[in-house]
Amino acid sequence: MSIPKDFKYTFSHEWIKIEDDKALIGVTDYAQDKLGDVVFVELPKVGTEIEAGHEAVVIESVKTAADVYTPLSGKITKVNTLLDKDPSFINSGPYGKGWIFEIEIRDKRELEKLIDAQVYENKISED
Protein backbone atom coordinates (compact mmCIF):
# COMPACT_ATOMS: atom_id res chain seq x y z
CA MET A 1 0.00 0.00 0.00
CA SER A 2 1.60 3.24 -1.09
CA ILE A 3 1.76 6.16 1.39
CA PRO A 4 3.91 9.06 0.10
CA LYS A 5 6.05 10.52 2.89
CA ASP A 6 5.66 14.17 1.89
CA PHE A 7 1.85 14.19 2.11
CA LYS A 8 -0.39 14.71 5.13
CA TYR A 9 -3.29 12.40 5.96
CA THR A 10 -6.52 12.05 7.89
CA PHE A 11 -7.95 9.10 9.76
CA SER A 12 -10.81 9.10 7.27
CA HIS A 13 -8.34 8.26 4.46
CA GLU A 14 -7.88 11.58 2.68
CA TRP A 15 -4.42 12.80 1.67
CA ILE A 16 -3.42 16.45 1.64
CA LYS A 17 -0.56 17.93 -0.33
CA ILE A 18 0.22 21.41 0.96
CA GLU A 19 1.63 24.04 -1.39
CA ASP A 20 1.94 27.41 0.35
CA ASP A 21 -1.60 28.60 1.08
CA LYS A 22 -3.27 25.92 -1.02
CA ALA A 23 -3.87 22.24 -0.50
CA LEU A 24 -4.53 19.50 -2.97
CA ILE A 25 -6.82 16.78 -1.64
CA GLY A 26 -7.57 13.22 -2.68
CA VAL A 27 -8.16 9.79 -1.21
CA THR A 28 -5.42 7.35 -0.26
CA ASP A 29 -4.37 4.19 -2.01
CA TYR A 30 -5.82 2.26 0.89
CA ALA A 31 -9.18 4.01 0.45
CA GLN A 32 -9.38 3.37 -3.29
CA ASP A 33 -8.49 -0.25 -2.72
CA LYS A 34 -11.29 -0.65 -0.18
CA LEU A 35 -13.78 1.11 -2.46
CA GLY A 36 -13.03 -1.00 -5.51
CA ASP A 37 -13.77 0.18 -9.05
CA VAL A 38 -14.79 3.83 -8.94
CA VAL A 39 -17.51 4.65 -11.45
CA PHE A 40 -18.56 8.17 -10.56
CA VAL A 41 -17.21 11.13 -8.59
CA GLU A 42 -19.50 13.95 -7.55
CA LEU A 43 -17.18 16.94 -7.54
CA PRO A 44 -17.78 20.14 -5.56
CA LYS A 45 -18.21 23.45 -7.37
CA VAL A 46 -15.23 25.73 -7.79
CA GLY A 47 -15.71 28.81 -5.63
CA THR A 48 -17.67 27.03 -2.90
CA GLU A 49 -16.65 27.74 0.68
CA ILE A 50 -16.51 24.57 2.75
CA GLU A 51 -15.91 23.87 6.40
CA ALA A 52 -13.45 21.34 7.78
CA GLY A 53 -15.05 18.03 8.62
CA HIS A 54 -17.88 18.48 6.16
CA GLU A 55 -18.66 16.25 3.22
CA ALA A 56 -17.12 17.71 0.06
CA VAL A 57 -17.20 14.90 -2.47
CA VAL A 58 -19.04 11.65 -3.05
CA ILE A 59 -17.23 8.75 -4.64
CA GLU A 60 -19.37 5.99 -6.06
CA SER A 61 -17.80 2.62 -6.71
CA VAL A 62 -19.56 -0.42 -8.09
CA LYS A 63 -20.01 -1.63 -4.54
CA THR A 64 -20.80 1.47 -2.55
CA ALA A 65 -20.99 5.24 -2.17
CA ALA A 66 -18.46 6.95 0.09
CA ASP A 67 -18.22 10.50 1.34
CA VAL A 68 -14.97 12.39 1.21
CA TYR A 69 -14.63 14.96 3.98
CA THR A 70 -12.59 18.08 3.64
CA PRO A 71 -10.03 18.19 6.43
CA LEU A 72 -9.52 21.92 5.84
CA SER A 73 -11.86 24.90 5.60
CA GLY A 74 -11.69 27.31 2.72
CA LYS A 75 -12.64 28.09 -0.84
CA ILE A 76 -12.43 25.44 -3.51
CA THR A 77 -10.12 26.76 -6.20
CA LYS A 78 -9.87 23.80 -8.57
CA VAL A 79 -11.51 20.44 -9.14
CA ASN A 80 -10.17 17.54 -11.19
CA THR A 81 -12.57 17.51 -14.14
CA LEU A 82 -10.62 14.59 -15.61
CA LEU A 83 -12.57 12.47 -13.12
CA ASP A 84 -15.80 13.30 -14.95
CA LYS A 85 -14.47 11.51 -18.00
CA ASP A 86 -12.56 8.79 -16.25
CA PRO A 87 -13.33 8.29 -12.56
CA SER A 88 -11.06 5.23 -12.50
CA PHE A 89 -8.06 7.58 -12.09
CA ILE A 90 -8.95 7.38 -8.41
CA ASN A 91 -8.03 3.69 -8.60
CA SER A 92 -5.07 3.88 -10.97
CA GLY A 93 -3.42 6.99 -9.56
CA PRO A 94 -4.85 7.99 -6.21
CA TYR A 95 -1.98 10.40 -5.46
CA GLY A 96 -1.55 11.69 -9.00
CA LYS A 97 -4.14 11.83 -11.77
CA GLY A 98 -6.78 10.90 -9.21
CA TRP A 99 -6.48 14.08 -7.13
CA ILE A 100 -9.94 15.50 -6.42
CA PHE A 101 -9.92 19.16 -5.43
CA GLU A 102 -7.77 22.08 -4.43
CA ILE A 103 -8.64 24.35 -1.56
CA GLU A 104 -7.39 27.77 -0.46
CA ILE A 105 -6.45 27.28 3.18
CA ARG A 106 -8.40 29.67 5.37
CA ASP A 107 -6.99 28.76 8.76
CA LYS A 108 -3.48 27.32 8.96
CA ARG A 109 -4.11 26.11 12.49
CA GLU A 110 -6.24 23.34 11.00
CA LEU A 111 -3.07 21.83 9.55
CA GLU A 112 -2.06 20.77 13.04
CA LYS A 113 -4.86 18.20 13.08
CA LEU A 114 -3.49 16.38 10.05
CA ILE A 115 -1.39 13.30 10.59
CA ASP A 116 1.83 12.33 8.87
CA ALA A 117 2.55 9.25 6.76
CA GLN A 118 3.89 7.18 9.64
CA VAL A 119 0.84 7.72 11.84
CA TYR A 120 -1.44 6.96 8.90
CA GLU A 121 0.46 3.80 8.12
CA ASN A 122 0.09 2.65 11.71
CA LYS A 123 -3.60 3.39 11.58
CA ILE A 124 -4.32 1.32 8.46
CA SER A 125 -2.15 -1.55 9.61
CA GLU A 126 -4.50 -1.88 12.59
CA ASP A 127 -7.54 -2.31 10.33
Binding site: G36, D37, V39, F40, E42, E60, V62, K63, A65
Partner: protein, 366 residues
Amino acid sequence: MEKVKKTPLYDVHVNMGGRMVSFAGWLMPVQYSGIIEEHNCVRKSAGIFDLSHMGEIFVSGVKSVEYLQKLITNDIEKLADGRALYTVMCLESGGIVDDLLVYRIKKDEYMLVVNALNTAKVFAWMRKNLVSGVEIANKSEGTALIAIQGPLSKTIVLSLDFKNPVSIKYFEFMSNNINGIDCILARTGYTGEDGFEIFLPSDYAAVLWDSIFAEAKDTGLMPVGLGARDTLRMEMGYSLYGNDITEETTPLEAGLSWVIDFNKEFIGKEALLKQKEHGLKRKLIGFMMLDRGIPRSHYEIFSSGEKVGEVTSGTMSSTLKKAIGMGYVPVELAKPGTRIDISIRKAMVEARVVKKPFYIPEKRKN
Protein backbone atom coordinates in the same frame (compact mmCIF):
# COMPACT_ATOMS: atom_id res chain seq x y z
CA MET B 1 -24.34 -16.21 15.37
CA GLU B 2 -23.06 -19.33 13.74
CA LYS B 3 -19.40 -19.53 12.79
CA VAL B 4 -18.68 -18.29 9.27
CA LYS B 5 -18.20 -21.22 6.93
CA LYS B 6 -15.54 -21.69 4.29
CA THR B 7 -16.15 -23.35 0.97
CA PRO B 8 -13.73 -26.07 -0.15
CA LEU B 9 -12.22 -23.44 -2.47
CA TYR B 10 -11.39 -20.92 0.25
CA ASP B 11 -7.60 -21.36 -0.02
CA VAL B 12 -7.79 -21.27 -3.80
CA HIS B 13 -9.54 -17.87 -3.65
CA VAL B 14 -7.02 -16.44 -1.22
CA ASN B 15 -4.16 -17.63 -3.43
CA MET B 16 -5.77 -16.07 -6.48
CA GLY B 17 -6.11 -12.71 -4.75
CA GLY B 18 -9.78 -13.03 -3.89
CA ARG B 19 -11.03 -10.47 -1.38
CA MET B 20 -12.98 -12.51 1.12
CA VAL B 21 -16.13 -11.18 2.72
CA SER B 22 -18.83 -12.72 4.82
CA PHE B 23 -21.98 -13.46 2.83
CA ALA B 24 -24.97 -15.48 4.04
CA GLY B 25 -22.79 -17.14 6.66
CA TRP B 26 -19.98 -18.00 4.25
CA LEU B 27 -16.60 -16.45 3.55
CA MET B 28 -16.81 -15.73 -0.16
CA PRO B 29 -14.69 -13.81 -2.66
CA VAL B 30 -16.37 -10.51 -3.51
CA GLN B 31 -13.79 -9.78 -6.18
CA TYR B 32 -10.35 -10.74 -7.47
CA SER B 33 -9.00 -8.28 -10.06
CA GLY B 34 -11.98 -5.92 -9.90
CA ILE B 35 -15.73 -6.12 -10.35
CA ILE B 36 -15.85 -4.32 -13.71
CA GLU B 37 -13.06 -6.37 -15.28
CA GLU B 38 -14.63 -9.62 -14.06
CA HIS B 39 -18.07 -8.54 -15.24
CA ASN B 40 -16.81 -7.67 -18.71
CA CYS B 41 -14.87 -10.91 -18.89
CA VAL B 42 -18.07 -12.92 -18.39
CA ARG B 43 -19.83 -10.90 -21.11
CA LYS B 44 -16.91 -11.20 -23.56
CA SER B 45 -15.24 -14.55 -22.85
CA ALA B 46 -15.91 -16.53 -19.68
CA GLY B 47 -15.68 -16.45 -15.92
CA ILE B 48 -15.53 -19.15 -13.28
CA PHE B 49 -17.46 -18.86 -10.02
CA ASP B 50 -17.42 -20.72 -6.72
CA LEU B 51 -21.05 -21.15 -5.73
CA SER B 52 -20.44 -23.85 -3.14
CA HIS B 53 -22.29 -21.78 -0.57
CA MET B 54 -25.58 -22.48 -2.35
CA GLY B 55 -27.85 -25.14 -0.91
CA GLU B 56 -28.55 -28.52 -2.48
CA ILE B 57 -31.56 -30.33 -1.10
CA PHE B 58 -32.47 -33.75 -2.47
CA VAL B 59 -36.02 -35.05 -2.56
CA SER B 60 -36.89 -38.66 -3.23
CA GLY B 61 -39.65 -41.19 -2.68
CA VAL B 62 -42.90 -42.24 -4.29
CA LYS B 63 -44.76 -39.11 -3.18
CA SER B 64 -42.05 -36.68 -4.37
CA VAL B 65 -44.06 -35.17 -7.20
CA GLU B 66 -47.12 -34.59 -5.07
CA TYR B 67 -44.99 -33.13 -2.29
CA LEU B 68 -43.04 -30.77 -4.53
CA GLN B 69 -46.14 -29.67 -6.42
CA LYS B 70 -47.58 -28.48 -3.14
CA LEU B 71 -44.37 -26.71 -2.12
CA ILE B 72 -43.51 -24.85 -5.30
CA THR B 73 -45.58 -22.61 -7.55
CA ASN B 74 -44.39 -23.92 -10.92
CA ASP B 75 -45.55 -27.22 -12.42
CA ILE B 76 -42.89 -29.93 -12.13
CA GLU B 77 -45.03 -32.44 -13.97
CA LYS B 78 -43.85 -30.79 -17.15
CA LEU B 79 -40.23 -31.64 -16.27
CA ALA B 80 -38.58 -34.55 -18.05
CA ASP B 81 -35.57 -36.39 -16.62
CA GLY B 82 -32.47 -34.24 -16.96
CA ARG B 83 -34.33 -30.97 -17.08
CA ALA B 84 -34.41 -28.04 -14.67
CA LEU B 85 -37.05 -25.48 -13.83
CA TYR B 86 -37.04 -22.08 -12.14
CA THR B 87 -39.67 -21.56 -9.48
CA VAL B 88 -40.46 -20.00 -6.14
CA MET B 89 -41.73 -21.46 -2.89
CA CYS B 90 -44.38 -19.45 -1.07
CA LEU B 91 -45.80 -19.04 2.40
CA GLU B 92 -49.58 -19.28 2.88
CA SER B 93 -49.50 -15.48 2.67
CA GLY B 94 -48.10 -15.66 -0.85
CA GLY B 95 -44.79 -14.19 0.35
CA ILE B 96 -41.72 -15.82 -1.13
CA VAL B 97 -39.80 -18.34 0.99
CA ASP B 98 -37.10 -18.66 -1.68
CA ASP B 99 -36.52 -18.78 -5.40
CA LEU B 100 -34.84 -21.92 -6.63
CA LEU B 101 -34.11 -24.34 -9.42
CA VAL B 102 -35.63 -27.81 -9.37
CA TYR B 103 -33.67 -30.48 -11.25
CA ARG B 104 -35.45 -33.71 -12.11
CA ILE B 105 -32.81 -36.43 -11.83
CA LYS B 106 -35.25 -39.23 -12.53
CA LYS B 107 -38.75 -40.25 -11.58
CA ASP B 108 -39.20 -39.53 -7.87
CA GLU B 109 -35.74 -38.01 -7.49
CA TYR B 110 -35.11 -34.29 -7.52
CA MET B 111 -32.39 -31.83 -6.57
CA LEU B 112 -33.39 -28.36 -5.36
CA VAL B 113 -30.78 -25.61 -5.54
CA VAL B 114 -31.63 -22.86 -3.10
CA ASN B 115 -30.04 -19.62 -1.95
CA ALA B 116 -27.28 -19.91 0.64
CA LEU B 117 -29.07 -17.35 2.75
CA ASN B 118 -32.16 -19.55 2.86
CA THR B 119 -30.85 -23.11 2.91
CA ALA B 120 -31.60 -23.73 6.60
CA LYS B 121 -34.95 -21.94 6.41
CA VAL B 122 -36.06 -23.79 3.28
CA PHE B 123 -35.01 -27.14 4.71
CA ALA B 124 -36.97 -26.43 7.90
CA TRP B 125 -39.99 -25.39 5.82
CA MET B 126 -39.73 -28.55 3.77
CA ARG B 127 -39.48 -30.67 6.89
CA LYS B 128 -42.50 -28.94 8.37
CA ASN B 129 -44.53 -29.81 5.29
CA LEU B 130 -43.09 -33.28 4.86
CA VAL B 131 -45.46 -36.16 4.07
CA SER B 132 -44.91 -39.89 4.25
CA GLY B 133 -43.49 -41.39 1.10
CA VAL B 134 -40.95 -38.60 0.76
CA GLU B 135 -37.40 -38.28 1.97
CA ILE B 136 -35.46 -35.06 2.01
CA ALA B 137 -31.73 -34.61 2.50
CA ASN B 138 -29.77 -31.41 2.84
CA LYS B 139 -26.47 -32.19 1.13
CA SER B 140 -25.25 -28.59 0.95
CA GLU B 141 -22.26 -29.12 3.23
CA GLY B 142 -20.68 -31.87 1.19
CA THR B 143 -21.55 -30.45 -2.22
CA ALA B 144 -19.44 -27.95 -4.11
CA LEU B 145 -20.71 -25.94 -7.08
CA ILE B 146 -18.49 -24.43 -9.74
CA ALA B 147 -20.04 -22.34 -12.50
CA ILE B 148 -18.50 -21.39 -15.83
CA GLN B 149 -20.41 -18.59 -17.53
CA GLY B 150 -19.91 -16.60 -20.69
CA PRO B 151 -19.86 -17.01 -24.47
CA LEU B 152 -16.74 -19.20 -24.31
CA SER B 153 -18.08 -21.46 -21.55
CA LYS B 154 -19.10 -24.16 -23.99
CA THR B 155 -15.62 -24.28 -25.55
CA ILE B 156 -14.12 -24.59 -22.08
CA VAL B 157 -16.52 -27.26 -20.87
CA LEU B 158 -16.10 -29.32 -24.03
CA SER B 159 -12.32 -29.25 -23.55
CA LEU B 160 -12.70 -30.95 -20.17
CA ASP B 161 -12.31 -34.67 -19.91
CA PHE B 162 -15.89 -35.78 -19.31
CA LYS B 163 -16.66 -39.49 -19.43
CA ASN B 164 -20.05 -39.01 -21.10
CA PRO B 165 -20.30 -36.79 -24.17
CA VAL B 166 -21.69 -33.38 -23.24
CA SER B 167 -24.83 -32.69 -25.21
CA ILE B 168 -27.07 -30.64 -22.98
CA LYS B 169 -29.10 -27.61 -23.97
CA TYR B 170 -30.12 -24.64 -21.89
CA PHE B 171 -31.80 -25.77 -18.64
CA GLU B 172 -30.80 -29.38 -19.18
CA PHE B 173 -28.38 -31.38 -17.07
CA MET B 174 -26.70 -34.76 -16.94
CA SER B 175 -24.85 -37.02 -14.55
CA ASN B 176 -21.26 -37.22 -15.61
CA ASN B 177 -17.77 -38.00 -14.47
CA ILE B 178 -14.68 -35.92 -14.92
CA ASN B 179 -11.24 -37.40 -14.24
CA GLY B 180 -12.91 -40.01 -12.06
CA ILE B 181 -15.01 -37.48 -10.14
CA ASP B 182 -18.76 -38.00 -10.25
CA CYS B 183 -20.61 -34.80 -10.91
CA ILE B 184 -23.80 -33.25 -12.20
CA LEU B 185 -23.25 -30.97 -15.18
CA ALA B 186 -26.05 -28.47 -15.80
CA ARG B 187 -26.50 -25.77 -18.40
CA THR B 188 -27.88 -23.19 -16.04
CA GLY B 189 -26.72 -19.90 -14.59
CA TYR B 190 -27.49 -16.47 -13.26
CA THR B 191 -25.65 -14.21 -15.69
CA GLY B 192 -27.79 -14.30 -18.83
CA GLU B 193 -24.90 -15.78 -20.78
CA ASP B 194 -24.51 -19.32 -21.95
CA GLY B 195 -23.06 -21.23 -19.05
CA PHE B 196 -22.63 -24.40 -17.08
CA GLU B 197 -22.77 -25.38 -13.44
CA ILE B 198 -20.93 -28.39 -12.07
CA PHE B 199 -22.07 -29.98 -8.80
CA LEU B 200 -19.52 -32.27 -7.23
CA PRO B 201 -18.31 -33.61 -3.88
CA SER B 202 -16.54 -30.86 -1.92
CA ASP B 203 -13.32 -32.84 -1.60
CA TYR B 204 -12.67 -32.60 -5.33
CA ALA B 205 -13.60 -28.96 -5.88
CA ALA B 206 -10.05 -27.58 -5.76
CA VAL B 207 -8.75 -30.26 -8.14
CA LEU B 208 -11.49 -29.53 -10.65
CA TRP B 209 -11.06 -25.75 -10.34
CA ASP B 210 -7.34 -26.12 -11.12
CA SER B 211 -7.88 -28.45 -14.04
CA ILE B 212 -10.46 -26.09 -15.55
CA PHE B 213 -7.89 -23.31 -15.41
CA ALA B 214 -5.25 -25.55 -16.93
CA GLU B 215 -7.54 -26.40 -19.86
CA ALA B 216 -8.88 -22.89 -20.33
CA LYS B 217 -5.67 -20.90 -20.20
CA ASP B 218 -6.04 -19.55 -23.75
CA THR B 219 -9.64 -18.43 -23.34
CA GLY B 220 -9.05 -15.55 -20.93
CA LEU B 221 -11.06 -17.31 -18.23
CA MET B 222 -11.05 -15.30 -15.01
CA PRO B 223 -12.27 -16.09 -11.51
CA VAL B 224 -15.35 -13.99 -10.75
CA GLY B 225 -16.55 -12.93 -7.33
CA LEU B 226 -19.92 -12.15 -5.83
CA GLY B 227 -19.61 -8.48 -6.80
CA ALA B 228 -19.71 -9.16 -10.51
CA ARG B 229 -22.22 -11.96 -10.01
CA ASP B 230 -24.51 -9.29 -8.61
CA THR B 231 -23.95 -6.74 -11.40
CA LEU B 232 -24.35 -9.45 -14.06
CA ARG B 233 -27.68 -10.64 -12.66
CA MET B 234 -28.86 -7.06 -12.30
CA GLU B 235 -28.28 -6.32 -15.98
CA MET B 236 -30.55 -9.27 -16.67
CA GLY B 237 -33.18 -7.98 -14.26
CA TYR B 238 -32.99 -11.21 -12.26
CA SER B 239 -34.28 -10.93 -8.72
CA LEU B 240 -31.99 -11.46 -5.77
CA TYR B 241 -33.58 -12.99 -2.70
CA GLY B 242 -33.34 -10.68 0.27
CA ASN B 243 -33.27 -7.61 -1.98
CA ASP B 244 -35.88 -7.81 -4.72
CA ILE B 245 -37.92 -10.69 -3.37
CA THR B 246 -38.61 -11.54 0.26
CA GLU B 247 -41.31 -13.06 2.45
CA GLU B 248 -43.05 -9.66 2.23
CA THR B 249 -43.32 -9.73 -1.57
CA THR B 250 -45.30 -12.11 -3.75
CA PRO B 251 -44.27 -13.62 -7.08
CA LEU B 252 -47.09 -11.66 -8.74
CA GLU B 253 -45.67 -8.37 -7.51
CA ALA B 254 -42.16 -9.47 -8.48
CA GLY B 255 -43.16 -10.14 -12.10
CA LEU B 256 -42.77 -13.88 -11.63
CA SER B 257 -46.30 -14.90 -12.59
CA TRP B 258 -44.73 -17.06 -15.30
CA VAL B 259 -43.52 -19.45 -12.60
CA ILE B 260 -46.98 -19.86 -11.10
CA ASP B 261 -49.32 -22.59 -12.26
CA PHE B 262 -52.79 -21.82 -10.92
CA ASN B 263 -54.14 -25.10 -12.30
CA LYS B 264 -52.65 -27.06 -9.42
CA GLU B 265 -52.71 -26.83 -5.64
CA PHE B 266 -49.77 -25.27 -3.82
CA ILE B 267 -49.05 -23.39 -0.61
CA GLY B 268 -49.91 -19.73 -1.08
CA LYS B 269 -52.28 -20.30 -4.00
CA GLU B 270 -55.30 -18.88 -2.22
CA ALA B 271 -53.52 -15.68 -1.24
CA LEU B 272 -52.09 -15.23 -4.71
CA LEU B 273 -55.46 -15.82 -6.37
CA LYS B 274 -56.99 -13.24 -4.09
CA GLN B 275 -54.24 -10.77 -4.90
CA LYS B 276 -54.76 -11.42 -8.60
CA GLU B 277 -58.52 -10.88 -8.35
CA HIS B 278 -58.23 -7.70 -6.31
CA GLY B 279 -55.52 -6.39 -8.57
CA LEU B 280 -51.91 -5.77 -7.69
CA LYS B 281 -51.07 -2.68 -5.69
CA ARG B 282 -47.37 -2.60 -6.50
CA LYS B 283 -44.95 -4.12 -8.93
CA LEU B 284 -41.24 -4.69 -9.20
CA ILE B 285 -39.93 -2.46 -11.95
CA GLY B 286 -36.64 -1.89 -13.68
CA PHE B 287 -35.50 1.68 -14.15
CA MET B 288 -32.64 3.56 -15.72
CA MET B 289 -31.16 6.80 -14.39
CA LEU B 290 -31.29 9.75 -16.77
CA ASP B 291 -28.96 11.90 -14.70
CA ARG B 292 -25.82 11.08 -12.82
CA GLY B 293 -26.01 9.10 -9.64
CA ILE B 294 -26.25 5.44 -8.78
CA PRO B 295 -29.32 3.98 -7.12
CA ARG B 296 -28.66 1.69 -4.18
CA SER B 297 -30.88 -0.61 -2.20
CA HIS B 298 -33.24 1.27 0.21
CA TYR B 299 -32.97 4.62 -1.58
CA GLU B 300 -36.45 6.13 -1.87
CA ILE B 301 -38.43 6.32 -5.10
CA PHE B 302 -40.54 9.43 -5.73
CA SER B 303 -43.23 10.42 -8.20
CA SER B 304 -44.40 14.03 -8.44
CA GLY B 305 -42.69 14.82 -5.16
CA GLU B 306 -44.28 11.97 -3.22
CA LYS B 307 -42.55 8.89 -1.91
CA VAL B 308 -43.93 5.87 -3.75
CA GLY B 309 -41.45 3.09 -3.05
CA GLU B 310 -37.93 1.94 -2.43
CA VAL B 311 -35.04 0.75 -4.53
CA THR B 312 -34.31 -2.94 -3.98
CA SER B 313 -31.20 -3.29 -6.17
CA GLY B 314 -29.08 -0.87 -8.14
CA THR B 315 -25.72 -0.48 -9.77
CA MET B 316 -23.75 1.07 -12.58
CA SER B 317 -24.16 -1.29 -15.53
CA SER B 318 -20.73 -1.67 -17.06
CA THR B 319 -22.17 -3.13 -20.26
CA LEU B 320 -24.68 -0.31 -20.79
CA LYS B 321 -22.61 2.44 -19.12
CA LYS B 322 -25.82 3.54 -17.40
CA ALA B 323 -26.96 3.38 -13.82
CA ILE B 324 -29.82 0.90 -13.42
CA GLY B 325 -32.02 -0.26 -10.62
CA MET B 326 -35.07 -2.19 -9.51
CA GLY B 327 -37.71 -1.43 -6.95
CA TYR B 328 -41.38 -1.64 -6.06
CA VAL B 329 -43.77 1.11 -7.15
CA PRO B 330 -47.59 1.38 -7.36
CA VAL B 331 -48.86 -0.43 -10.47
CA GLU B 332 -49.97 2.79 -12.12
CA LEU B 333 -46.32 3.87 -12.21
CA ALA B 334 -44.99 0.55 -13.47
CA LYS B 335 -45.36 1.18 -17.20
CA PRO B 336 -42.14 1.54 -19.20
CA GLY B 337 -41.48 5.20 -19.96
CA THR B 338 -42.96 6.45 -16.69
CA ARG B 339 -40.93 9.14 -15.02
CA ILE B 340 -39.83 8.51 -11.47
CA ASP B 341 -37.21 10.19 -9.29
CA ILE B 342 -34.71 8.51 -7.06
CA SER B 343 -33.61 10.27 -3.93
CA ILE B 344 -29.84 9.92 -4.06
CA ARG B 345 -28.49 11.43 -0.87
CA LYS B 346 -29.81 14.99 -0.95
CA ALA B 347 -30.73 15.20 -4.62
CA MET B 348 -33.71 14.01 -6.65
CA VAL B 349 -32.39 12.30 -9.74
CA GLU B 350 -34.64 11.62 -12.69
CA ALA B 351 -35.16 8.07 -13.90
CA ARG B 352 -37.39 6.21 -16.33
CA VAL B 353 -39.15 2.90 -15.89
CA VAL B 354 -37.76 0.48 -18.49
CA LYS B 355 -38.47 -3.08 -19.50
CA LYS B 356 -36.36 -5.85 -18.03
CA PRO B 357 -33.93 -7.30 -18.91
CA PHE B 358 -31.84 -4.17 -19.15
CA TYR B 359 -29.45 -6.01 -21.41
CA ILE B 360 -29.84 -8.95 -23.77
CA PRO B 361 -26.67 -10.93 -24.43
CA GLU B 362 -25.90 -11.03 -28.15
CA LYS B 363 -26.50 -14.67 -28.79
CA ARG B 364 -26.98 -17.66 -26.63
CA LYS B 365 -26.06 -20.72 -28.62
CA ASN B 366 -27.36 -24.15 -27.85
